[in-house]
Amino acid sequence: MMFAVAILGVLAALSLAVIRALKGPTAFDRLLAANAIGTSAIVLLALFGFMTGRPEFLDIGITYALLNMIGTLAVLKFFRYGALGHAQDAVKEREPE
């Protein structure tokens, strides 16, 4: 029962994050919202695992967190250097617009 209520809360948070991701207005709002969606998905996964009696789902949640990290790193590198595949000194730095 406790887990069900918690899941409802996380779903509400997820909806709010999706609204922010859709409304924008800047790219960074969307980025933060996408990050929040990823985190909420991890919490939802853990709660669902405990609710259905399978706490092993926590391991999958950890993998999700790692993947979320990769995505964030790629986006940040893209904003800092404007590219992904080059060494740090090969590309001239670009200001985010």
Partner: protein, 180 residues
């Protein structure tokens, strides 16, 4: 409860899909696609397909985001205005969707016991798996053991495609260097 979670998640997925169609900034599209993948992975978890959810999260939210950003470096960040009316593509998409929905009408209800899915070889695999292969995950056992040659063939195809892409990229890079 599961139905409620699925309903909320699918509604959010639909909202994000419309957002992806409407937004013109390609960077925002990449970010929204990554969010879409995480929501889709959650749907898969609720549907009890943990392995599919894993693939969706790693391919959709992980690698695809990185590749799309790499592609974004080569183009502009704003999507160009379409030169043709989107009416015909929209009609084709809606028609295809209608045909697919029509196809699902013939499917048996979800989880029924007397469908071929549950009466055919499935129960056999479940019964024999542990004694024969000693792999606790039946899906893995079927993929890697019972249909091992099949999987080997698929892996060979993927490997060949990877080699092809690598060779193409290498040639492209050499040509670019010669121009300098």
């Amino acid at each position: 409860m599961e139905q409620l979670i699925n309903m909320v998640l699918l509604t959010l997925l639909a909202a994000i899909t419309f957002g992806i169609i409407r937004v013109r900034n390609l960077f925002a599209v990449v970010v929204l696609t990554s969010a879409y993948s995480f929501l889709m992975a959650s749907v898969m978890i609720v549907l009890d397909a943990v392995d599919v959810a894993m693939t969706e999260a790693s391919v959709g939210a992980g690698i695809s985001t990185v590749l799309a950003l790499g592609a974004l470096y080569l183009t502009k960040t704003e999507e160009a205005e379409p030169r043709y009316s989107p009416l015909l593509p929209a009609l084709v998409a809606v028609g295809t969707g209608a045909v697919l929905v029509f196809g699902t009408l013939d499917l048996p209800p979800f989880g029924r016991a007397d469908t071929p899915l549950n009466t055919d070889v499935g129960a056999d695999y479940l019964a024999r798996n542990m004694a024969e292969t000693d792999i606790p995950n039946v899906v893995t056992a079927v993929l890697a053991s019972y249909r091992g040659f099949d999987t080997l063939g698929e892996t060979t195809v993927v490997f060949t495609a990877g080699i092809g892409v690598l060779m193409l990229l290498k040639r492209w890079r050499k040509a670019a260097r010669r121009e300098d």
